[in-house]
């Protein structure tokens, strides 16, 4: 019960932050990526604000033995810098530049009823399912 409240609260705070920051405006995101044209640097400050807070707080939090509602801190399993990482990030970047949405802002914007965000979240979920399917068939082939 408590944990669903903190989860929803964190999501709410995250989403409000995305809303205030301007990340939910595809035109603004595309302007931020348009460094060879009319570059709009303002979204750089989103990154600065987020990192300034999280860099300090995450270090304080991880001094604890465990989080409040779980038995351990979950760290990413992979450390390898491989082709998947670079290729995946490149494909994501192309999609980000085309649509002006990354996953968080798209999920927030869905609630505004904007058709573009609804379509984006739908095809994004489809893309995730396709990637999962390709990955699953590849690992099966290796066995």
């Amino acid at each position: 019960m408590k944990s669903s409240v903190t989860a929803a609260g964190a999501g709410l705070l995250f989403g409000l932050g995305l809303g205030f920051s301007g990340m939910v405006q595809p035109a603004k995101v595309i302007g931020f990526l348009d460094i060879f044209g009319h570059w709009d640097p303002s979204l750089m400050f989103v990154m600065m604000g987020a990192m300034a807070v999280h860099f300090v707080l995450s270090r304080m939090i991880q001094r604890r033995d465990q989080p409040l509602f779980d038995s351990k801190f979950h760290q990413p399993a992979t450390k390898a810098v491989d082709r998947k990482l670079v290729l995946g990030a490149a494909v994501f970047g192309i999609g980000w530049g085309l649509g002006g949405f990354c996953p968080g802002p798209a999920l927030v914007t869905v609630a505004s009823g904007a058709l573009s965000a609804v379509v984006f979240v739908g095809t994004m979920a489809l893309g995730m399912v396709i990637q999962h399917g390709v990955h699953a068939s590849k690992t099966r082939g290796r066995r």
Binding site: V5, T6, A7, A8, A10, G11, L13, F14, G15, L16, G17, G19, F20, S21, G22, P26, D34, G37, V46, M47, G49, A50, M51, A52, V53, H54, F55, L57, S58, I61, R64, L68, D70, V81, L85, G88, A90, V91, G93, I94, G95, G97, L98, F101, P103, L107, V108, A111, S112, A114, S116, F120, V121, G122, T123, M124, G127, I130, Q131, H135
Partner: protein, 144 residues
């Protein structure tokens, strides 16, 4: 002055809220606040903590509802790409974030804060790819 606040103050404030929310996720659930990962793990097989994922995503959508009620100008849809382009973009973002193991929040905010080399390389890659895409789209698409 007003211009300065809306251009840099709001992004800075919004960013700080995002950083605080990511810290809250770490403190309460011990997880990385990567939206692509949290969202994908909601419906892809082989993932744990589904209630947490569900409530977090519900919070994100709830924020959208609250914003469209009290601050609807947050969602300016001026110069938004066409539905077809946005649909293709979603497909690429979904595929790419799962293959690369993260998005702007997971690799960008959380990963860079953890000083992860993987996340640094991913972040530089998606930034450059995004910039190159906008450059090509603006020059070949003639949208501006």
């Amino acid at each position: 002055m007003h211009n300065l606040i809306s251009s840099y103050g709001f992004p800075l404030l919004g960013g700080a809220m995002i950083g605080l929310a990511a810290s809250l996720v770490l403190l309460t659930h011990g997880r990385i606040a990567g939206i692509a990962g949290l969202f994908g793990g909601l419906f892809l097989p082989g993932h744990d903590a589904r209630p947490f994922r569900f409530w977090f995503v519900a919070g994100l959508v709830g924020a959208g509802l609250a914003l469209s009620w009290v601050y609807p100008t947050a969602f300016s849809t001026s110069r938004t790409p066409s539905i077809t382009v946005v649909g293709v973009a979603g497909l690429l973002v979904g595929y790419g974030t799962r293959l690369g193991g993260g998005c702007t929040s997971g690799h960008g905010v959380c990963g860079l804060c953890r000083l992860s080399v993987r996340s640094l390389i991913a972040t530089m890659t998606f930034m450059v790819a995004g910039m190159a895409t906008v450059f090509v789209a603006n020059h070949l698409g003639g949208s501006q």
